[in-house]
Symmetry: D2
Subunit: 141 residues, 4 copies
């Protein structure tokens, strides 16, 4: 594990991400995880946008989320993303989503862990064929 193996990114919860329960809808967390692993990639010196331009795509093949405590509108969450494994054609990440700065509706002391998650990405080309991860990406891990 290198200095590049963890990323911390803060995201303010949008009003439209919250549902009639007054909390962030469970589907809203999924883009936050994507932002987390994207920023981890950027931290290694490359971007996902550049990877796609080179003809390689990373597609989610597995997604697991455990929701522990609610996140509310205007809370600031911190997504903590780590490379956790993989192979020549796959990357695994784990995530924690913490509330680190509470909005006006969140009474709890912060920080607290709101959710934990893991994903597996597969590397493919534009024709959907499985491809090896580029060397810089495999070594960044």
């Amino acid at each position: 594990m290198t200095a590049n193996s963890t990323n911390l990114t803060r995201i303010r919860v949008r009003y439209c991400e919250c549902d009639p329960m007054g909390v962030a809808h469970h589907a809203a967390y999924i883009p936050w995880l994507e932002i987390g692993r994207t920023e981890l990639l950027r931290q290694s010196g490359e971007t996902y946008a550049a990877l796609e331009r080179s003809g390689l795509l990373l597609v989610v093949v597995k997604l697991d989320v455990r929701y522990r405590r609610p996140v509310r509108y205007d809370d600031v969450v911190e997504v903590r993303t780590e490379w956790s494994g993989g192979s020549r054609v796959k990357i695994e990440h784990t995530y924690e989503v913490l509330v680190v700065e509470p909005g006006a509706n969140t009474p709890e002391s912060v920080p607290f862990v709101a959710a934990a998650a893991s994903t597996t990405l597969g590397c493919i080309d534009r024709d959907g064929k499985i491809r090896e991860l580029p060397a810089w990406l495999a070594s960044a891990r």
Copy 2:
């Protein structure tokens, strides 16, 4: 105006489309309008998916919405879409969004008009160049 010039499509409001006010978020209506004009196109015998395969894209250049009364979770709305004008390179639509079947949280008598909208689409190719609408689409109007 032909028999193909109006489309009525019903959509049940999703939980994730509703916000902490307990009503559909104003951004949630925008995909409903897109569904309305897409179904109007399908009614004319073609699909937007096929249009894109042929290399032509319809992009939204103007969007106006007036929100009159709230729409709630599990309501069924009817989107009424009409071709309302255009040119060789543009299509204009107008829309009404009505609540036609109330969910458990909607006390009003139905139907009622919840919103009215209009859009203008421009026809371009994959390089972003303005292109003429295909003949079948111009004549469907």
Copy 3:
């Protein structure tokens, strides 16, 4: 397992649910699962909207998805939802998402399984306290 234990619901993939890869974004599947379990509940004679009005909320505590094959714009998917277990305070569902009607961009023979998923819901009240499922819901399973 009763006649009410499975629900099949068809959903046409929205343009805005698809991403620059030209396929439905992995987050777009999550609302489809919610629609599946909501329709399963409706099939049992009640609605989730009515449950919320009675003061009980069902919150997602666990979500697992396996993405197998891409889903594309204008495809019609069928969500097959089953009650798969639970307790006095939890409900478990399993899901399959199949492409059953292809849009213009989907070359494969249909139907095919695009994804499989499972969720666990916990029953709480508006104060966030764990509550027993109502009898009709426990017996519907």
Copy 4:
């Protein structure tokens, strides 16, 4: 017009906000506008979350957007929000969305104006009754 009358907020375009054309979907801009006016409110010393806690809601009654040039994945946009008018019960805002930092897929020189918009918000209470804006909000304008 006071020092508080304009807000500049930067937002990185999310992958899931982009569509098969490879650009941000037109509906994705709507939450960006909401973020802009929310941050303008925060700049005046209050938050929208606190306003809602006090029992007042601001609902969108009018939304107009002109889309001029595409925004792409990983671009950073700057939303420039201004109070532009209103009454005792309404607030009007105008917006410009500029691309200020290009992602790997955006060839144009930055900054450029991608869209312009305006909204009108009405002030209501939880029963949907029209209410006067609180003094601090009327004077912040």
